[in-house]
Point group: C2
Chain length 327, copies 2
Amino acid sequence: MEQKIRIGICGYGNLGKGVQKAICQNSDMELVAVFTRRDPTQISKQTSVKVLPITEVAQWMNQIDVMIMCGGSATDLPDQVPTFAKLFCTVDSFDTHAKIPQYLNAVDEEAKSGGNVSIISVGWDPGMFSNMRAYAEAILPFSHTYTFWGRGVSQGHSDAIRRIEGVKDARQYTIPVPKAMEMVRAGENPELSTREKHERECFVVAEDGADLSAIEKEIITMPNYFADYDTTVHFITQEELDKNHKGLPHGGSVISCGQTGEETKQVMEYSLTLDSNPEFTGAVLVAYARAAYRMKKEGITGAKTVLDVPPIMLNQNEREEVIKRLL
Amino acid sequence: MEQKIRIGICGYGNLGKGVQKAICQNSDMELVAVFTRRDPTQISKQTSVKVLPITEVAQWMNQIDVMIMCGGSATDLPDQVPTFAKLFCTVDSFDTHAKIPQYLNAVDEEAKSGGNVSIISVGWDPGMFSNMRAYAEAILPFSHTYTFWGRGVSQGHSDAIRRIEGVKDARQYTIPVPKAMEMVRAGENPELSTREKHERECFVVAEDGADLSAIEKEIITMPNYFADYDTTVHFITQEELDKNHKGLPHGGSVISCGQTGEETKQVMEYSLTLDSNPEFTGAVLVAYARAAYRMKKEGITGAKTVLDVPPIMLNQNEREEVIKRLL
């Protein structure tokens, strides 16, 4: 039997735990260790896997094939991934869109110098949704593609509400506007403002005696986060929040419509309905970790994206078998 | 400016015409000639493009980069593609599922001997739907994937009805059963019989004085084609058929549902709603023709499938630009 692909996880939050679950569903992989900036003994209580301080990572260069980077896009990944790319193949879910080209170049240089493959910005958006946008544009160059997100929990928006005075806890859902989706599917190629594409629904637990109308006003007028959207605020108890809004569901749709003739409209749609955003993102990261490992074996090096990876590279089964069964 | 990719079309039925329309939407390509087994002068009346007898194809070896093969899967493609693969890169829409592995091997040998790339079984199913099945299985190895076809015209079933005595013309629609799709989306992983997945609706023009109930009975009891399905037959006039059922719409959905945790269900769905099946298939063929051309330039040879092609290879724009805009 072939040796298993040896995986490391760097960062053990929701995403790292999602990656760990995904590895268990892939029999050609084994999780070697989790690396953390926190105190490893604290995390060891949560899991049976080996937990090590991130400072020891270089010692594992020859025992780990692919390191799955589960830190945040704001500061962790830009700092960690170029360094790690010298030591291991890496996969990450960097999603600061405007900085992707610059990040790709920084990682590319280090991955090449280490003889490794780093696949950046993996997940569902960027990730699978990027694949769908690329397929749609290639097949129908004059099509229009729209991306809708939700219904799903935005952690950034939930955090923004929690920072308001008098707010104890909060959960924010991003919701695509059904009418906008219908117009896109009908091939109307609408010009849609931010407000016309998505709306926001907030479930807020207020402190005892807090001024609810002041909180509501502060939410719906908050620049960047809420001011450009139709926003609904519901005040609920902590018990209700814990009972009904504990999960991290998300999803969305990439809808493309183009014409191939004067009267022939062609609509492509890819939709995800996810009960757990971090677990699905983790599953995508694990599939692309396999691709990174295989690409390196083929002599490829440098920073890649999902767009550079053939679907067959993601599947743990033999090419001939996959072609026979799935083509 | 870079030289355009020089395309040939072999076979000028609905699919060949769809390919021709698609080439017009891709500014990095030019259609050099159409090759036909029929009398070229007859086809020349329909189009301004150069039409040549298929027997002259070998003379065009150095003037055409990719030949898009638009014949049928039953006899044309297995006969033509291995021969053509020696002369040109080729793309085809071979869809006889059981024979794909054998066909792949036959084409692979000839493509390698000619130093060319042949991408087989391109279109939407096999084709884009295969990509979706492969992505789904790679991301969620324990998911269940279901493919539904329709609502759309099946030409094979329409032909089968037309062969019945007393039938002048007919059009058959394949329709997915909504309840089955709902069960799949709900993650129930149902065992679905043929009858439970699709139904068939037939619009039939009978000859004057034909026995309508005999025709209806012959349709709904026809083995393989209709006996295993719930089938509805409508008798209509030729005028109605020409007015309301002239097009070749089709489409379908690939729906996958899997779990990443005990209570976390993840649903992926890819759907196509196509006003013209041959024009969409033609558009997919053209995108993969570009990939065949580029793969050969990279030194790759042999028979490939859509699963072997990274999405970026299909797009006419520069990698950096596509990553910046679509990732």
